[in-house]
């Protein structure tokens, strides 16, 4: 008889009884403490059912256990006293709850503990190092008083703690005490536990811990540092907590995972997990492996799940951080590029860019008539239709959906002042966006239309004024202080001075390890007479300044050398 159990129960009494019977049948005495809040109608049949089982006893005094209050510690202390008195041969006491389940045959636990007779298994971390406390209380747990229930009277609890902090109330720690925290579920050696129970200062310490917050996570964890000789700072009970500090439940489908963890106990088990109870409540030596507990795999699985719950996934924002969306967080799933004015300056730019980068490059996705997907597709990845009405109904969702549905393939699309502008506020605040603007390039498109005789006179001037106004607003937006997108902007004249030089860094960002560099330069739009065209617009009274200065008799300079710039190899 090497280990005895103290079991704290408050719900699912039938499961607790099942586990207690198993423990007792395996030769481990059990003292059960049932919360005083358990109604008599439930407690009595439970107690009657276990009354005649040898090895099971009930704690002499029932405490009222309020979460985070002293009751749980008081109950544990009393029950431990009962257990140690009744069974003088015990070497270890294991604290478990009614929803704990042994994962390995109990003889293994007995052997494991018998080989480590003076060791205390209790997670005990000094408060200077603890990072997992929820609610920001670590030192304050000990310095303040917590007379009110956190669960039931949250507002009063907050008010009382706030008031104490404001008044600078802090009580001194009892002498010789270094606060430690850790899991509530432990296994202590008889020597240590008796030293704690018979401590001459126990009255003083108990009085102090009565007003510590959540003393069940600190009372034994702190005192074991005073009395224990060999502390193994880990719990033999596997339990996982979410980011609110609530325990995860284990279900039938966790069977294999739990089995492979090689932990001795797990908490907490869903009461209706029949398969778990049926499989683990046996001392079948066939599952014996005598391995060290190894909860690593379970740890990874659960922390991954918690991360995703807390952080979500980039690009899948929807409303989740809504309405107070974090401004600096990526709004889309992956990087994408917006080209404004390039298609006008360099006809066939989409094809050229596609060839240079190996990507499918869209036309004007936000064109008034329809979303011009690459290759004239009517429907794109993610079942995205090209309907302008659907797109403009919620353009942010359109773009975010596009980038989400094509994760792994960078999206590039053309943009311009003739397109639907609404989406650009979203783009500007998105660190995933790369925005390149050749301002005033729309004038080239107008020039071509004038040459073709489509647009002349007053209508032409009006359209030019409209586009310039829209583009000015666009530029102003992209130059705002809060912009997170990577923005490059040139005036048309500036850009034309060295088109390839200007394009190179953009291409490097899009495809840093592109297999081939562009061997041919993109074709430049015809510029004969463009200067004169601009001058005509100015003569008509328009304040045309975005395209920059073009001499009236401007002759185009051929675009620069198409070969890549020489790079230094480091």
């Amino acid at each position: 008889m090497s280990v005895g159990f103290v079991m704290l129960v408050h719900t699912a009494l039938d499961r607790a009884a099942q586990v207690a019977r198993h423990l007792a049948a395996s030769g481990c005495p059990v003292v059960i403490h049932a919360d005083r809040k358990v109604p008599r109608a439930e407690f009595e049949p439970f107690a009657r059912g276990l009354a005649d089982v040898p090895g099971i006893a009930f704690a002499g005094r029932r405490h009222r256990c309020e979460w985070g209050m002293w009751g749980i510690v008081g109950a544990t202390l009393d029950a431990c006293g009962d257990l140690l008195t009744a069974h003088p041969g015990l070497r270890h006491v294991y604290l478990c709850s009614g929803s704990c389940l042994p994962l390995r045959p109990l003889p293994e636990l007995q052997a494991y503990l018998a080989a480590r007779p003076e060791t205390d298994f209790i997670e005990s971390v000094t408060i200077d190092d603890v990072v997992w406390t929820k609610g920001g209380f670590d030192h304050d747990r000990f310095a303040l008083r917590f007379p009110v229930s956190f669960r039931k009277r949250r507002r009063l609890f907050d008010a009382v703690t706030r008031a104490q902090k404001r008044l600078g109330m802090a009580r001194p720690l009892p002498e010789g005490i270094a606060p430690h925290l850790g899991s509530q579920w432990w296994c202590l050696s008889r020597t240590t536990l008796e030293a704690i129970l018979r401590d001459p200062r126990r009255r003083e310490l108990d009085r102090f811990f009565r007003s510590v917050w959540i003393p069940d996570e600190s009372y034994f964890q702190t005192l074991v540092r005073v009395h224990g000789r060999r502390v193994e700072s880990r719990s033999l009970t596997l339990s996982k907590f979410d980011h609110f500090g609530r325990p995860h439940s284990f279900y039938d489908d966790h069977l294999q995972l739990l089995r492979r963890s090689d932990c001795f106990f797990a908490r907490k088990i869903w009461p209706r997990a029949d398969r778990l109870y049926a499989s683990f409540l046996s001392n079948d030596p066939k599952v014996t492996k005598n391995a060290e507990p190894n909860p690593g795999k379970i740890d990874r699985l659960f922390s991954h799940a918690t991360d995703r719950r807390v952080q979500g996934r980039p690009g899948l924002i929807m409303q989740s951080r809504f309405p107070a969306r974090r401004l600096d967080a990526p709004r889309t799933a992956a990087a994408y590029s917006v080209f404004s004015g390039f298609a006008e300056t360099l006809p066939g730019f989409e094809t050229w860019l596609g060839r240079a980068t190996g990507l499918r490059v869209h036309g004007h996705l936000f064109a008034p008539a329809r979303a011009e997907f690459a290759g004239g597709a009517r429907i794109w990845n993610g079942c995205l239709p090209d309907s302008a009405a659907l797109r403009d109904y919620n353009p942010e969702a359109f773009l975010a959906n596009l980038v989400w549905a094509t994760r792994g393939e960078r999206q590039c699309f053309m943009f311009g002042p003739a397109d639907a502008q609404e989406v650009m506020r979203f783009v500007a605040g998105d660190p995933n966006a790369q925005v390149s603007i050749v301002a005033g390039a729309w004038a080239l498109a107008l020039f071509a239309r004038e040459q073709a005789g489509e647009l002349t006179g007053g209508a032409l001037r009006k359209e030019a004024a409209r586009l310039q106004k829209v583009e000015l607003a666009h530029l102003a937006l992209m130059r705002s202080g809060w912009v997170k997108a990577r923005v490059r902007a040139w005036s048309l004249a500036e850009f034309l001075e060295a088109p390839m030089e200007n394009l190179a860094p953009i291409l490097d960002e899009i495809a840093p390890r592109a297999p081939r560099r562009p061997t041919e330069a993109p074709v430049l739009a015809p510029l004969d007479g463009f200067g004169a065209f601009l001058q005509r617009l100015r003569n008509d009274g328009m304040n045309l300044h975005l395209p920059g200065d073009f001499p009236v008799g401007h002759a185009p300079t051929p675009p620069g050398d198409a070969r890549p710039r020489p790079y230094l190899v480091r």
Partner: protein, 346 residues
């Protein structure tokens, strides 16, 4: 993927809250007045504490119901509370023979009862208060993370533990490979076998005031039938599973609830909190015939005349499938696509 919510000032918010309070009272009263339209077919037997109830209004669903009942029974629904709205295809007899179905019948107008919401509201208030109530249509199959292994009781216990008062779900509209009428289906079969495809996107969501309800649209119907009038496209978010209280009321089908804070339980696809999905089996071969049926047309939608074109399009037996369609593989796939979330419930 959202339009930001314009948050009004505190006075407006208080006024809205007050309006919604009265709206909820009106809805509850309305449900109470409609109680006379319901005639019990089977006697009501009390359900144990912690039971999960499933509520539905059905009309001529003899084809879908066998699988529907089997699926939700497997999930662990303890009692089906069903209103039969004048079926003439044996639906009523079939339901009355099921041991766990509590059946009511009515011949009154489905539309006048706010598409059955009033009837179910009354039954929920009488029988589901204090329980988790799952309100569904006969063409919706609820799934949620780990549904194959963990019964509804585990899910509701987890939601209770998290203090989440309702479970949000996206309606995933399933469709066949070819024309709608060409896909055979026998009662009792898994409709997912007959309708294996769905649209993995795009879905757009926004919040509406004053009920602060979510409004998610998208999917195949949005793409095919409402491309020119997106405002009318069907709403795809639901809150089917709710911890019901005597004061809860569905506002607009199962899409939104009152009091308004219940609507905040889900933020649409991409919300990292625990959510589910409703597999929508509307497009079984019966839809074509049904869309041509004048009674059916009259009884659905707020303004049936405006949806004439939509019904015509469905009656014309279209192909919803396209090359970008995704084959349904299970809840993990939906989670991977961001359409639902296990919310750290592993």
């Amino acid at each position: 993927m959202t339009a930001p919510e314009d948050i009004p000032g505190p006075l407006t918010r208080a006024a809205e809250a007050y309006r919604m309070r009265w709206k909820r009272r009106r809805l509850l009263t309305r449900a109470w007045r409609k109680r006379g339209e319901l005639t019990p077919v089977t006697p009501w037997r009390p359900v144990p504490r912690g039971a999960v109830l499933c509520l539905a209004t059905v009309r001529n669903e003899a084809v879908r119901l066998p699988f529907w009942i089997a699926h939700h029974r497997r999930l662990g629904v303890d009692r089906f509370v069903i209103v039969d709205n004048g079926s003439d295809d044996g639906t009523r007899e079939m339901l009355a023979a099921e041991p766990d179905v509590a059946l009511w019948q009515t011949r009154a107008s489905y539309r006048a009862a706010r598409f059955g919401v009033d009837w179910l509201g009354w039954l929920a208030r009488r029988h589901a208060a204090g329980h988790w109530a799952l309100t569904l249509d006969a063409d919706e199959l609820l799934i949620y993370p780990h549904w194959e292994e963990r019964p509804l009781a585990a899910l509701t216990a987890e939601l209770d533990c998290r203090g989440q008062p309702a479970l949000g779900a996206l309606m995933v509209e399933l469709y066949p490979r070819g024309r709608l009428s060409e896909q055979p289906y026998r009662p009792g079969d898994d409709p997912v076998q007959a309708l294996p495809f769905f649209d993995a996107g795009p879905y757009r969501a926004r919040r509406q005031r004053p009920a602060r309800n979510l409004w998610v649209q998208g999917g195949p119907r949005d793409r095919l039938f409402f491309g020119n009038d997106p405002r009318r496209a069907p709403t795809l978010n639901k809150l089917p599973l709710v911890r019901w209280r005597g004061t809860t009321a569905y506002l607009n089908s199962c899409h939104s609830l009152l009091p308004p804070r219940l609507n905040l339980a889900w933020e649409g696809p991409g919300d990292p909190r625990l959510s589910g999905a409703l597999l929508h089996t509307k497009f079984l071969n019966t839809i074509v015939e049904r869309s041509a049926d004048a009674t059916h047309r009259r009884e659905h939608f707020g303004d049936p005349a405006r949806f004439g074109a939509y019904h015509d399009a469905l009656a014309a037996d279209p192909v919803l499938w396209h090359e970008g369609a995704t084959r349904y593989e299970g809840w993990r796939q939906l989670e991977h696509l961001g359409l639902m979330s296990s919310g750290g419930w592993t």
